[in-house]
Symmetry: D2
């Protein structure tokens, strides 16, 4: 367990190996109290091993156990099964001045994969290195995008399963949802005493769907604060921004992720006082639904509604 | 054929029955020249038959051949197989002051349907009537949304098939994509001499996914202008706004619609001068992907890129 | 219309072009009475154009409108919307002594396709010619299979749509179900006066799933007899053998085809007197479910139950 | 660890709680040598808690952690990552004279579920008790089926993940494949030292797809023998009967399970000496593909080829 107090912020780094699963079976690396502000150091999706355009993933990752090394588990004091863990994302700072993306063999949205196999030859591997500078993430004039950092993976340990850090599901995990960003709150189910929180896979930016499977990957220092809602359980991760309520559904095929996201948003609206079918109607007319990733072992979709539409019922009562 | 010249605008209304298919086998109702401005009158998705909250769809639609009656086919002079038809959407005006939505039996995104059957009882039917007023579409304080009109269905006849006006596919059709709106251009494949253009199913507004299957349905007067790109063929519908390039993919399961939309956007970027894998990389980092509908016989997804990112290569050469 | 009386059997050959759609909009090529025995001549899936191992499909099919040319439409006297057409498959004789299979570009179960695209290179094209001899269909010692002929495509025209002869759906069409074979009866919905029956795409044999997309393709002479069940409508094709009841569901994703096939088999069992949930239970324990094809625009699955289990209730009453 | 020598057969029963995951993180309950014959005692899918028609699953299972309690983990001496574990299924004997099936809420192939949600009311719960007698499993005259026992779940621990005993995947698990039966061999990947073998969920019989989600569930005594193939790794479970080679693919959507099963069978045929595309061709014409289950968190499909077709190449060389 590594935990150093430093100007009110607890710094958490991984002692020894990072985890490639969301699991209750691992030893916590830190204990954190609700309200405490922590700075968590994360590695990039490649474990920081792809550092230039000659580092082909098939070579430098050959003896690695997986993608998306996670920092964790972090034990949240007071968290008990049936609670909800609220994660306030305060800040994300890159801990280097570059990001990396790549074409990986048998991976990505426009390639066959081990779960959607074909007999075709794989796409060629390729690495892109980007410079982080002046609010932009830049490979060359053509590939230059704004710095829009977020956490690709975030979640708690499931009740019984240990889930790969490549897989998003009810516990959160590898959702690749750009709304998991500074200023927003992520609600996660607590299934074990201590919650067993993990995070990692920071992205300097990403398009919807994370099309080739590899965003603008960075190692980072992530400032978070935890809050517990006692004896209030949720089934799927929720996100709240200043203006929106969101739910992330992760499943295959993609329409099932969409059904989960929207139905859970309806349940959230019922908690706010909406009638189920009125909420169904409202989301039909004003809901938003975008794709977080279309490349992982489960696909993640985000359903959202602006607070100004969802909150009407509360104001009227 | 009904065609009345009126202040430079040709008004097109359906003589006799509207069509429930996109088909080359039907008789054109009008002939239009490229460049000509037309005002097309469309019926709502229910053929204007659901007019109050007691008009249950299962009752008033019992003898109707389908949903989404189309105005068309409209014969475009000079259009030949292998061309692309560009439709400039100039204006959409409701031809009444109300819109309608409904829960229909065995229909919608959170219900079993005839193509995804279950043994469960269907959801209860329900009708919502909205008033169109002051830029808003309002049922009550809780269900009140901005007027954001667009064409739910738009397309050309396929080469051989006659496709239901409930189905989006390569020809366009029932895409339910809110970006098919005034100010934007829709590119459609021409597979037959005269193109055989159809449109209908205007929406006063819709959320992503058209969750319950029925948006804010209106009958409308739609002002369009047609343009032909000769001997230039496309496989799937494209949309261009002032700031974005978009492609609509329609398929099941939903991930296939996503793959189609993004791969076709890559092909479009290749036409602009991009390398295939550089375009794949760019869309990974900056592409957008949202759900048009998750309720039809095919699901429609829209992949897009802002022009400021896609056009860089052009400016550099 | 070509119709020659010959030893009690009416021979039907296609005058002019074969059809690539199941459509009510085409002119019938023959009128047949219920009870009449007909011999229908069909072309193979490639329109008989791939005749040796150098006939690459991408070359010899370049100007062809589609795969699976159909013989039809055949007008069934007395057939009216709401009836069921029963097709007795009496015999299938090859009209040549060879069959053909092939790897086609961007086609097949272990390849990306136009509806499930990837950026990978397509598989290489390849043609296999088989000799039909001594009850076997033989390319070489390694590729030698029994003669098990059946009709790959069979169906009636939909009410409004014209559906590609590559697509199986409610009307039948390209189901690629080996149980559509001599000795069995196929039940098809009648949606138009005269039914507009089509068939073609004979297979000298095929494995479940038609994996590479091209079975052992033959042109053939197909002996059929038609029967009408008046004022009895079905939603999806049914098959009856001496020992089994079967329903074919065709959809994407594949689980939807499975749900359709099994739920329609439950509805059939309800017609026989079963309680819905007892039928659900029986099929859980004794139903069979295999894949017809996993390569077409819709996938076809066949759910079945042995008559000895389904008929119990009838015998008891 | 409970292990009692008894007439050459080692009896293994679960000390304490059964497992609801396939996991390397649990303590082995027995150590077994290759070649040793073991009799493993398993509980039924409901943990033997549903014992009569008034035991509604929603009531009697309310405090249970999951379905499919597993007996295990069993440590296989000498097993190391990269080996293949061969499980000879010698015998399955029920340890009681009855079996149970049920309709469970929000579960099953013709119901919405937590992963394919709808807003519809769930199906009513219902329990069926069957008598095992005279080679039949009988509820009443109408629901009476042959005794065809097999192991619903069988597998090894994954490398890092702990996978629910409801989920089939690369490690085996809840495949619900009737070919996992006495007389057949199951090949499983070894990912951890000792393999960590689990089994359970015996079925007295099951139709393809396990339609309602609950087969004829029994607790049983299962006689197995283990064999190791050293330094030979497989990706997905394989089954060998006297006459067939089979691979089980488990994924969503169902077509992905089909692609996995058939492509892995091609790889197996390549190991036998087949050319990849010749194997693709052979399976197109003679392969079999049926649905194990269509109800779990992943669907399982079985691709197979008769040995008489697959072995030809070996005989010729």
């Amino acid at each position: 367990m590594v935990k150093i107090q430093e100007n009110q912020v607890t710094v958490i780094t991984q002692p020894g190996e990072h985890s490639y699963v969301y699991s209750k079976y691992l030893e916590p690396i830190a204990v954190v109290k609700p309200g405490e502000v922590v700075e968590i150091h994360t590695k990039d999706a490649f474990g920081n091993r792809v550092t230039n355009e000659n580092d082909l993933p098939s070579v430098v990752l050959v003896d690695v156990k997986g993608l998306n090394p996670q920092t964790g588990p972090i034990y949240i004091e007071g968290a008990e099964p049936g609670d909800t863990l609220v994660v306030h994302i305060i800040d994300i700072q890159p801990d280097r001045d570059w990001a990396v993306s790549a074409l990986k063999e048998s991976f990505g949205g426009l390639s066959s994969t081990d779960l959607t196999p074909s007999l075709q030859e794989p796409l060629p591997e390729k690495v892109w290195i980007y410079k982080i500078e002046d609010g932009m993430v830049t490979h060359n004039k053509q590939l230059s995008f704004p710095w829009r950092p977020f956490l690709g993976t975030i979640g708690t340990a499931p009740e019984l399963e240990s889930i790969s850090s490549l897989t998003p599901h009810k516990h959160g995990g590898n959702m690749d949802v750009p709304d998991v960003k500074p200023g927003n709150k992520v609600y996660l189910p607590v299934k074990n005493k201590g919650a067993f929180f993990y995070t990692g896979d920071c992205h300097a930016g990403q398009g919807d769907g994370e099309l080739c499977g590899v965003a603008l990957e960075v190692s980072a220092r992530v400032t978070l604060k935890f809050e517990l809602i006692k004896q209030k359980s949720i089934e799927w991760p929720r996100i709240e921004s200043e203006t929106e309520y969101m739910v992330v559904g992760s499943a295959r095929p993609m329409e099932d992720a969409a059904k989960i996201a929207y139905s859970e948003l309806i349940y959230w609206m019922e908690e706010m006082g909406w009638d189920k079918f009125e909420a169904y109607q409202a989301l039909t007319q004003i809901g938003k639904l975008y794709v977080g990733n279309m490349v992982d072992t489960n696909y993640s979709l985000v359903a959202k509604i602006e607070k100004k539409y969802a909150d009407v019922i509360l104001k009227d009562e």
